[in-house]
Symmetry: C2
Subunit: 322 residues, 2 copies
């Protein structure tokens, strides 16, 4: 996906035009910092692509595309506080570099900024644009709350987990594509199909993310393999294992939970998961969501070249060879 | 202002119709709790009044009025975290009753909810409605940041302080009135005049608030007299005193800053302030902002009955007899 790089650069260039005021510097410096930490800018790219596929040009959906990235960054700043995450994109998080109060308030301003961008939409589509954005934004917050709840719950089901990742991350991918389609005045059906495509690819992507945590090639993987296991996170791998264990294996899982030797912890967990064929089960679920996404893609009234672009993007996101 | 009570009840009734989902309960229970803590609902009442004065009915500006109250409550929930405030309206704050993470996230949802309400505006005024709201919302955040900065600064000027209270609280009062006028399609000039009126009354109100902290009748005052002095807050009284002290009195002020006997601290501070005629100077400033508000009121093209309502509201807010 070399084309992706030029889109990322285009978005970075457009984001660079966003002028944050100089004062109060404590409010706007964190935003200047965080918005230039980088990333692939997947969400705004989805909006541009969704727009182009239905006849828009790269220029016609810029504010809406940027609003998706701005919203994503707002949610990262606030989530990082809630998750007490010290690092984001290899740099200190806002609450770590400044303090939690500044992270709360600069996040708030960023959410308002997303609405300022959306407000640039033509009046005739503005109500629909806001409706899509509002619904999605609330869902993302609900997903984050579910994720926090799961930390202290011991009865999380696989379907609850899927619903959590759907809300927390996948709806924003679907909405980003749909936003572009909406700006290009695609039909309601086409908007729905492209939304469904994005949402299901998003779920497949998150499942893949869970699988990679334990099964990635350590040389290619950017972070510590087994990080979720070490942190006792209730990922899909873990929940799938729990759904398959015997009473005896359940005891082993409990012991591993408290294992202090992290090398041993990761190794033994993988052995147990392998025995339970957890990876295969999760890959199957991922393929199911991928296939559902492809079913939606099939129905979208766009030409094959555009469909190929969406497939390439999906493949890139999911890296199915892993 | 008996009429106010019926407006408050009307707003409470309309707020009661806002349906928060049941799940995730950790996200929506805090909002149900906080939105029913009460208060006079001044901001939505201003929107309804601003609307009625330019020909609207009580029904025509409800979503916009509610959005002002919802935004105000969002900012209170987040400010309470930042200020580590344990109590709001005699009840535990959200971060205290639940936890800071829940207060961050439920506040975020409330801000989005404000936009959902605004999105119900007729499409032809929606861009202007959003523009007014976005500008105001950013200003309120900037005011909160300035307020936080002042805590650790020792060179805050009176004009910076006035700018802080203007942004943190007064622009929202001006915007609430203007929002109502905008929904009633008042002319741009009239919108500006009613905004200026509300903003200047807001500044006068905040100055009065500062004065009352130290000079209120203890029997009538709902909270501890001298609370700002005890907390070493840089109020207008304090900043005015600082602008008037001799080097010798500056030393006294420094000693009072560290005085542990709070009764003595409040008494001695008041004696010093009285000697410096701080109260009179602040009252003079308050009257100046009040008079400026009245100048704007004079220019608004509404009938005398409506002007009398705005004057009664201003008097009620400022309680000039204190």
């Amino acid at each position: 996906m070399n084309a992706l790089k030029s889109y990322t650069e285009f978005i970075d260039f457009e984001l660079g035009k966003m002028n944050f005021p100089n004062s109060p510097v404590e409010l706007y410096d964190p935003l200047r910092y965080f918005m230039t930490l980088g990333g692939k800018r997947i969400r705004p790219i989805l909006t541009l692509l969704g727009n182009e596929m239905f006849g828009g040009s790269k220029q016609t959906a810029i504010p809406q595309a940027l609003s998706m990235e701005v919203f994503h960054n707002f949610s990262l700043i606030h989530d990082d506080i809630m998750d007490a995450a010290p690092v984001r994109r290899k740099q200190p998080t806002v609450h770590e570099k400044w303090n939690p109060n500044i992270a709360i308030l600069s996040g708030d301003v960023l959410l308002i900024k997303a609405y300022q961008l959306l407000s640039e939409s033509s009046p005739e589509i503005l109500p629909e644009v806001l409706n899509l954005f509002n619904t999605t934004a609330v869902e993302v917050c609900e997903g984050q709350q579910m994720d926090m709840n799961f930390e202290s719950r011991h009865d999380v089901t696989i379907s609850e987990y899927i619903e959590m990742i759907r809300l927390k991350t996948s709806v924003l991918l679907g909405a980003s594509l749909k936003m572009g389609a909406l700006v290009a005045r695609a039909s309601e059906e086409n908007q729905q199909y492209i939304y469904d495509f994005g949402q299901n690819i998003g779920i497949a992507f998150q499942i893949q993310d869970d699988i990679l945590d334990l099964y990635a090639d350590p040389d290619k993987f950017g972070k510590q393999v087994g990080g979720d296991v070490i942190a006792n996170k209730k990922t899909l791998l873990y929940l799938t294992a729990v759904s398959k264990v015997t009473l005896e294996q359940k005891e082993i899982l409990k012991q591993l939970h408290n294992e202090q030797d992290i090398g041993l912890k990761v190794k033994r967990t993988r052995e147990l998961f392998d025995h339970l064929q957890v990876r295969q089960a999760c890959k199957q679920m991922m393929h199911n969501y991928y296939d559902t996404a492809m079913d939606s893609l099939e129905k979208i009234a766009i030409n094959d070249k555009h469909k190929a672009t969406l497939i390439a993007l999906a493949e890139f996101l999911i890296q199915r060879d892993n």
